[in-house]
Amino acid sequence: MNRYPLWKYIVIAVALVIGILYMLPNFFPDVPAVQISSSKSAVKIDTALLGTVEDDLKAANIPYRGAELDAVGIKVRLPDLDTQVHAKDLLTQKLGDNYIVALNLLSSSPQWLASIGALPMYLGLDLRGGVYFLLQVDMKGALDKAADRYTTDIRSLMREKKILYSGVGREGANVVLRFKDDGERTKARNAISIAFPDLQLREQDAAGGESRLVAGLKPEAQTRISEGAVQQNMTILRNRVNELGVAEPIIQQQGADRVVVQLPGVQDTARAKDILGRTATLEIRMVNDDPAAIEQARNGQVPFGNDLYTDRNGEPILVKRQVVLTGDRISDAQSGFDSRTNEPAVHVTLDAAGARIFRDVTRENVGKRMAILLVEKGKAEVITAPVIREEIGGGRVQISGRMNTREANDIALLMRAGALAAPMEIVEERTVGPSLGKENIAKGFDSVKYGFLVLAVFICLYYSVMGVISTAALVINLMLLVAILSMLQATLTLPGMAAIALTLGMAIDANVLINERIREELRWGATPHAAIQAGYERAWGTILDSNVTTMIAGIALLAFGSGPVRGFAVVHVLGILTSMFSAVFVSRGIVALVYGRRRKLDHVSVGQAWHPQLEPSMAKS
């Protein structure tokens, strides 16, 4: 009776071994480390760099516990937090701008565990500290801006084609043209549909005999602009996050127009917000190349109407304060190659009004230099200052010479960043300081620990041997839950830790059901073996039903929850699954081990099974 087939024991044993292996990494403390990754896609991290890093550390007498190269970059383990900071400062200085050197914490679990994918649980921001931002891209702004551009473009098109119109203006996201007669309107319609295939045109006759032509963006063009705006914003964000030196940043699109940025472990949250939230504008201004003026400026007397900057090579450059063009006149900037010389170049496209201004300015200033500046938070940086070779009309500008492919890429990116397609706004922010994160871990751990201890003592007392078995099943449940959370690398949050505690409290329900059933069967005269059998069998249906309803709630939370609620739901759902396995399958296995071998069992220790017909003193204990 109550024998358990071998295959079930094998399943349990395999589950236990896997559970223990994947739970193990959580017991090793984190060690401070420095992580080096590349800030530009063109820069590769290889063993040569690893050698350089190790040499640098040795040269500076910084002790380290090993350096390794993986998919992300180079990780150097260090003995303590002070050396970590020293190493970071040293490497930042030695490696230069092409690499990001970030502080990180690495698990000290042995390599063989990591090689089978056994990693510690992934802690959420509320446990490790850091910043979470939800940014919304202002799509209406992006579309309005596009409509503005089309308004000017259409106006110049009308002039160019000599079509008579009485007015052009933007109404919402549409451009509206007014005509005195229908003939001109038809001509305009034909001209616009050839020049701007992205616009859909609609004729409208307003009161008073006025003919109107309404031009709006086609839906597919709108989607393209929206998607482009989000992508562009994400590129910019990535670029800025690199500047922060965060070890494991997450930048993801959420929904159609939102971007999530998570920066774990960031200490200086004010700076993070500052860098992410800054708005950059692009300005094109003329360079003052008068040697006397430069000399004067170097001596601290900047001539009136000029600003002194240094360019990317560190050379001083004097720029006139008058702005020729601003970034919003730039529709696009792409890196590429000069079609004649084949050297790397940046191709810039200007809108109609920008093109006109640019043509006039270049005509008058051939041979002079023009500076392109990126202005962020009142601080201007000269991206490049090319010489004007000839008059440039048509709005297509090529900047080339004295740059390599990577620089061309950077310049194009910076110019696009300046000409941000759509403004972004922080719509949700959660910042947790690092000390609070540590406290939260301790609190979550305490809730599980003390609750579990009291519960275990009570269950063992109340159900004696069966109680001890139930407690063992509960321990296995906890272990499997931690192992699965580690395996899936699901984010563990403080509500998630509360869910572990809650799950344990709920998981005992299955064992209580079983033990109560066994008692009841004994009460009505069943033999111990039959009582165990019936207890497990009859309780199973109930356990299944009750877990399904709890599961429904868990899945709904998972689907609709965000942030902390999601962290709760993940653990809750996984906990229901592990508790069904351990409370029924595993505990039955232990029962079979304890009681199953004896052919004739005269007693099962499930605490007192009191029988109403017997005096309490006569009852078995």
């Binding site: 919304q136 949250t269 004010a270 917000k273 500052d274 939230g277 706004e425 922080i426 949700e428 922010e429 959660r430 910042t431 947790v432 300081g433 000390s435 609070l436 406290e439 939260n440 609190k443 305490d446 809730s447 003390y450 609750g451 009291v454 519960l455 009570f458 007392l461 109340y462 403080l494 509500p495 830790m497 509360a498 505690a501 809650l502 409290g505 709920m506 005992i508 329900d509 209580v512 059901l513 009841e520 009859r538 109930t542 039903d545 009750s546 309803t549 709890t550 429904i552 709630a553 868990g554 709904a556 939370l557 929850g561 902390p564 609620v565 739901a569 007192q608 009191w610 109403p612 309490p616």
Partner: protein
């Protein structure tokens, strides 16, 4: 050890009316509290900014208030949070001022007033996101209810489904009533707790429903009332032990989990206590009044017997 030594089935259903009157009164009271006071919605749902500041020594709330007041940010509140060294500042949404600027402004003012102020946590939720979180929460509650009704209707019978969902939603309303009466802050974790309680209490209803079905099968001559009484009595021990165990863990979260989980565990605790009452007594009496009969349940059992499921004598 055994706590429950009940020799006869307790005639719960004789007092069904009393139980229902009690639950109607608590329910109405909860609705009245909700109508009068309303829920004290947290930043998650209403939008706004919360800043947790630690001073390392007892907070002088008057000074904190006057420092924030000078910034002219609208109606704000300052409270202690967890310990006397920590202050929690709640600020309303303000047009034209981003969260980054807002929290920096406040921290700047507090630091100027007392340099030992350190920022521990900032939460900002914009109006749109708050509205969405609120709507998603309501949608989740609705879907959980529908899902449970469908499952119970399939597994048992529509009367059980309707009775359980009424009994358990009445728990939810009572939890909300408590939050309205005491003006505890209703945040995202509290919503999670409410939904978890809903799933958990239905658990209880399922256990009793299971027993009622089994009793209908075994006690062929007994009246419906007797069958239900017996089902509740026999599961009473398990109900108390299970809920006691869960409550134990919840209390552990309440005492050790810190301020962040305070209201979360409170909602769970209230839900578990009322869950015992409502799922055992309210649900069972509703089932009785809806007119459950042996035929409704035993017929479905025959079908199961034909498909090979074991029916025990």
């Amino acid at each position: 050890m055994e706590f429950f030594r009940i020799s006869r089935d307790i005639p719960f259903m004789r007092h069904a009316l009393v139980f229902n009157v009690i639950s109607i009164i608590t329910f109405v009271a909860a609705v009245v509290f909700l109508a009068i006071f309303g829920l004290n919605l947290g930043v998650d749902f209403r939008g706004g900014t919360v800043i947790e500041v630690n001073y390392g020594h007892a907070v002088d709330f008057g000074r904190v208030r006057s420092a924030v007041d000078k910034l002219n940010l609208g109606e704000f509140s300052v409270q202690s949070f967890g310990s006397s060294e920590t202050a929690l500042i709640r600020l309303p949404l303000k047009e034209g001022l981003s969260s980054a600027q807002l929290s920096e402004k406040v921290m700047g003012a507090l630091k100027a007033d007392d340099p030992s102020a350190t920022q521990r946590r900032v939460e900002f939720v914009g109006p749109q996101v708050g509205k969405e979180l609120y709507e998603n929460g309501a949608l989740a509650l609705l879907l959980v209810s529908i899902g449970i009704v469908i499952y119970l209707a399939l597994r048992f019978e529509w009367r059980f489904a309707v009775a359980s969902i009424i009994a358990n939603l009445h728990d939810v309303v009572i939890i909300l009533g408590f939050f309205a009466l005491f003006q505890w802050e209703f945040s995202l974790p509290v919503l999670a707790a409410v939904l978890a309680v809903l799933g958990y209490s239905v658990n209880e209803s399922v256990v009793i429903a299971d027993r009622i079905r089994e009793n209908f099968r075994k006690m062929r001559k007994a009246s419906v009332t007797h069958v239900i009484d017996s089902a509740i009595t026999r599961t009473l021990s398990r109900t108390i032990i299970t809920h006691g165990s869960t409550l134990l863990m919840v209390l552990s979260i309440f005492f050790f989990g810190g301020e962040t989980l305070h209201h979360f565990s409170l909602a769970l605790a209230i839900g578990i206590c009322f869950g015992i009452y409502s799922s055992a007594l309210v649900m069972a009496s509703l089932v009785m009044w809806l007119g459950v009969s042996r035929e409704d349940l035993v017929r479905s059992d025959r079908k199961r017997a034909l498909t090979g499921d074991k029916v025990l004598p």
